[in-house]
């Protein structure tokens, strides 16, 4: 029994296998804790986590798409459309109905993306970019270009402001998302299929794998994470907004990249998503605490994205061991 437990523990440890970005996150935390006043307080920690939670949930979805060798831009406007649909539906069908409708919209966009990319072999870049613009237009048209307020209610604000056992609901959602992503990627068959298809779609096809279905399910799963985030986000702003989170796709890609997920596909782990998200969240938070003007905030965030990706590129020793031995194609 204990042997089994030890083996399980070892397995889990091997899978989590600290990514290089983990050390970046730790270093950043230490730096901010020493230099930024009020950074290392429990109140601020909760604040960081709460702000990071939405990014975290969506980044989990982005990670799946990146593992598949794709990319997903449409998150940015699908959450906006979801918020508007939610607010429009709430008066007639209640809060639950509203959230369900919002989530359904996001899933529908995921289905569309997946179908176009899997069925027609279209570049994900083009499809999701087009979808981003088209859906943004649709959201603005529906809302007439202006935010629509939702009737305030306890239930409506629960996903963003509620607490379970003292823990904010968004943080629980983020934790659940990362946990789910970890389990799916590490243990499930579909996770394995995503890795295989992302690493070499042609080899996957010739191995008898249904590549199209696998890709489709990947985009669907990604949109499921996005749907969860859309509910929390809508609840937080309490309104339907046509430009709710325009930078969400870029932030999630940045989070995954900072975490160390290569955009070439076939690689990526849940722990990397978590580290990437935490790095971005700590950065944002520190910049706000230091009361830097917006200009510096943007400069610093841009620099951190580039810096941490550069760092991972150059650090052959820590954490990236299992990638460092991969030779360039063309060599023997």
């Amino acid at each position: 029994m204990t042997a089994l437990a030890i083996r399980m523990a070892r397995q889990v440890r091997d899978r989590i296998n600290m990514p290089a970005s983990f050390f970046v996150a730790i270093a950043l935390f230490a730096l901010f804790a020493l230099t930024v006043p009020r950074f290392a307080t429990s109140g601020n920690a909760e604040n960081v986590l709460r702000v990071a939670s939405i990014l975290c949930v969506v980044a989990c979805g982005q990670a799946i798409v990146l593992i598949l060798g794709g990319i997903e831009f449409s998150f940015g406007s699908s959450v906006a459309l979801a918020s508007i649909v939610t607010v429009l539906v709430v008066p007639d069908y209640g809060v639950m109905g509203g959230f369900a409708a919002g989530a359904a919209v996001v899933l529908l966009i995921g289905v569309l993306n997946g179908a176009l990319i899997a069925r027609f072999h279209l570049p994900p870049f083009i499809v999701t970019l087009g979808m981003l613009m088209a859906v943004a237009g649709l959201a603005a048209t529906l809302a007439g270009g202006l935010p629509i307020d939702a009737p305030p209610s306890e239930a409506f604000s629960w996903p963003a402001r509620g607490r379970v056992l003292g823990v904010p609901v968004p943080v629980i959602a983020a934790g659940a998302s990362v946990g789910t992503l970890f389990l799916v990627l590490a243990y499930s068959t579909i996770g394995r299929l995503w890795y295989l298809v992302g690493a070499n779609p042609e080899a996957a096809r010739l191995s008898g794998i249904r590549v199209r279905t696998t890709i489709f399910l990947g985009y669907l799963a990604a949109s499921a994470f996005c749907a969860l985030a859309a509910i929390i986000l809508t609840s937080r702003v309490g309104s339907g907004q046509p430009s709710l989170a325009p930078n969400l796709p870029f932030e999630t890609i940045a989070a995954c990249a900072i975490g160390g997920i290569p955009l070439a596909g076939g690689q990526g782990r849940a722990s990397q998503v978590l580290c990437g998200v935490l790095i971005i969240a700590m950065m944002n938070n520190a910049v706000v605490l230091l009361n830097f003007p917006v200009a510096y905030q943007q400069l610093m965030i841009g620099a951190v994205i580039l810096g941490s990706v550069l760092l991972q590129k150059s650090s052959g020793s820590i954490g990236v061991l299992w990638r460092s031995s991969v030779p360039k194609r063309g060599g023997r």
Partner: protein
């Protein structure tokens, strides 16, 4: 004879932009005759150059098998720099715009070509940072009015030979881009890089250097677009350009630039930009809200992808030697 323009076989994909443009003209002309009025056509013809310059820049990046999502922000920074430069040194100071662009391009190129970072991540990082710099230069996003606004207005509104000076400059830049792409060694190296990135080093072409050139050209053209923006508005606009990168990518793709690299032509890309501009203007004339126009542009982007699928599907390249 050795120019790339005359190579047969790549034809199909470059016909898309002219066809789309013709369809848009016929459609909007039929729906609203005033679309075809001289004034409106002139309007489109002057408005499209901003997008055209950005798209041509984007074309260089895509031809090298990358892309650049920072062009909108770069244009805004260049617009600001040009305005500040012109205020300090008179009209020649406008060149601060392209210089700023070149600097951003060098950084992008180095990140992609030397450091080996994925183009999307590299240009995303510069996108955010460049926006920050533009804000920094302008006291958190205040516009920078040109001191000599009259001269700027002359350049961008007073026709010389039918077109304002600024647009002649834009056309000149387009011709220059065609020369670079088709007739210059740099253009040839960029296309080779996009066609087979692993082989360029093996034939003695500097990989990193060529990559840097591609992104420099991309941002340089974004810089020129920024100058145009400044001349037209009479002010430097540090927060302009968001969303323009997506339209630029769309125009480049509709213009037949292959996302897989190695295939590009200038004129179709300009026509792609003209198409998108016609679409936006035409829908506007129809009294359709700009949001719907946005939907249309999105669908056009997806459509351009479907088109690549159709080309691949119905005109596959045959390799079998025994047929």
């Amino acid at each position: 004879m050795t120019s790339r323009v005359f190579i047969p076989h790549l034809g199909g994909r470059f016909l898309v932009a002219p066809l789309c443009l013709a369809m848009a003209v016929v459609f909007f002309g039929g729906a609203a005759p005033e679309f075809l009025s001289l004034g409106n056509l002139q309007n489109i013809a002057t408005q499209m150059w901003l997008l055209a310059l950005l798209s041509i820049g984007q074309m260089f990046a895509i031809a090298s098998r990358g892309f650049d999502i920072s062009v909108g922000a770069t244009a805004a920074l260049a617009s600001t720099a040009a305005a500040l430069g012109a205020n300090a040194f008179g009209l020649p100071g406008l060149l601060a715009g392209p210089i700023a662009g070149l600097a951003v391009g060098t950084l992008n190129g180095a990140l992609v070509g030397v450091a080996g970072i994925q183009p999307i991540v590299a240009t995303l990082g510069t996108l955010i940072a460049v926006r920050g710099i533009a804000l920094l230069l302008t006291d958190d996003g205040q516009v920078v009015p040109l001191v000599d606004a009259a001269a700027a207005a002359r350049m961008s509104f007073n026709p010389v030979l039918g077109l304002p000076l600024a647009y002649w400059a834009a056309i000149l830049l387009v011709c220059l881009a065609a020369l670079i792409l088709n007739r210059s060694v740099i253009g040839r190296r960029i296309v080779m890089l996009g066609s087979n990135p692993e082989a360029v080093r093996l034939v003695g072409i500097g990989y990193a250097r060529t990559q840097i050139r591609a992104y420099q050209l991309c941002s340089l053209y974004a810089g020129f677009a920024g100058v145009l923006l400044t001349l037209r508005a009479g002010t430097g606009l540090p927060t302009e350009g968001a969303g323009m990168e997506l339209q630029a990518i769309a125009a480049a793709v509709i213009g037949g630039t292959a996302l897989s690299g190695g295939v590009a032509r200038v004129v179709p890309v300009v026509l792609g930009a003209a198409f998108i501009q016609a679409l936006l203007t035409g829908l506007n004339l129809q009294g359709v809200s700009p949001f719907v126009a946005q939907i249309a542009v999105g669908l056009v982007i997806i459509g351009s992808g479907l088109l690549e699928y159709a080309i691949r599907h119905f005109f596959p390249v045959e390799h079998r030697s025994w047929t």
